[in-house]
């Protein structure tokens, strides 16, 4: 097939259908394309694990913030300026030497958008959604995270009225790091619970 940038290209059926939905709703005055642009740009530019990393770094640095975060996740996260759709009912679960937390959404793809952005592809896959509940220890091992047999694994299913964030354990040897440096070592996967830092 030759490529010509000025020639129309065929669309996948789903892409065409979404375009149709947009054009019909815009024409009816229900949706404004500029608003759609803003929503997409917000996901691409402002929402992502860099926000959750700041929450975790603050909790590691400020014991009083940590208490507030564990008591009322939504309010404490809002203190840092993060709120919005899928972030209204935030529950923060803390890893300890005896408990490892893992987050899943068994029925769809619920995920705390304001602090983690959109979920990675594997989070939405049937294999992760079913195995996280059925055999979390084995799944974690396959994902490169071995949890000792004497550590309890708690699995949190986001399909209830809550979105979860894992507060990872602060790694050893980070005592001298600033809050900003700490935020730089927090990963998305650690905040879902599929990785240890």
């Amino acid at each position: 097939m030759t490529t010509d940038h000025h020639h129309p290209t065929e669309m996948a059926p789903i892409e065409a259908r979404v375009a149709a939905i947009e054009s019909v709703l815009v024409e009816k005055g229900v949706l404004d394309p500029d608003v759609l642009d803003q929503i997409v740009a917000n996901f691409e530019d402002n929402l992502g694990p860099m926000n959750g990393a700041k929450v975790v770094a603050r909790a590691w640095s400020d014991p009083e913030y940590r208490e507030r975060l564990l008591a009322d996740g939504t309010a404490a996260i809002k203190e840092l300026g993060f709120e919005g759709p899928e972030g209204e009912y935030m529950v923060v679960v803390e890893n300890t030497p005896k408990v490892h937390n893992l987050v899943v959404c068994t029925l769809c793809s619920c995920y705390p958008w304001p602090i983690l952005g959109l979920p990675p592809k594997w989070y939405k896959a049937p294999a992760y959604r079913s195995r996280a509940v059925r055999e979390p220890r084995k799944l974690l091992a396959e994902m490169g995270t071995d949890i000792e047999a004497d550590v309890e694994i708690r699995v949190w299913d986001s399909s209830a009225e809550a979105r979860y964030l894992v507060l990872p354990m602060r790694p050893d040897g980070t005592d001298d790091m600033s809050e900003e440096q700490l935020a730089g070592i927090v990963t998305r996967d650690a905040m879902i619970g599929v990785q240890r830092l």
């Binding site: 992502g48 694990p49 793809s109 730089g184």
Partner: protein, 95 residues
């Protein structure tokens, strides 16, 4: 942001694209904008997404998303399937 941390130094998406194709971003934005505009809870969409995923678990995620969107729009009587058929393009408009 209120805490003065430098955004650019932090992980953004752990190396994954936010959307694999532009239409996925549009599909997401339409759902978000629509529930906002109509004052519906997000669950109004989320339950449809759950149903579509359950109906065909192996279908690509954003195709289920699109199907949920269409079912919501049709049930809310914002458009009929026939209207959508008529508005469905077969080719991308050149930029």
């Amino acid at each position: 942001m209120t805490n003065g941390l430098d955004d650019t130094s932090l992980p953004r998406d752990n190396g994954e694209l936010v959307f694999e194709a532009p239409w996925q971003g549009r599909a997401l934005a339409i759902a978000v904008a629509l529930v906002n505009k109509l004052g519906l809870p997000w669950d109004a969409f989320r339950h449809r997404l759950m149903d579509e995923i359950a109906k065909d678990p192996q279908r690509p995620y954003y195709e289920s998303w699109g199907a949920a969107l269409e079912s919501m729009i049709v049930d809310l009587k914002l458009a009929t399937s026939a209207t959508l058929d008529a508005a469905t393009p077969t080719e991308r408009t050149p930029l």
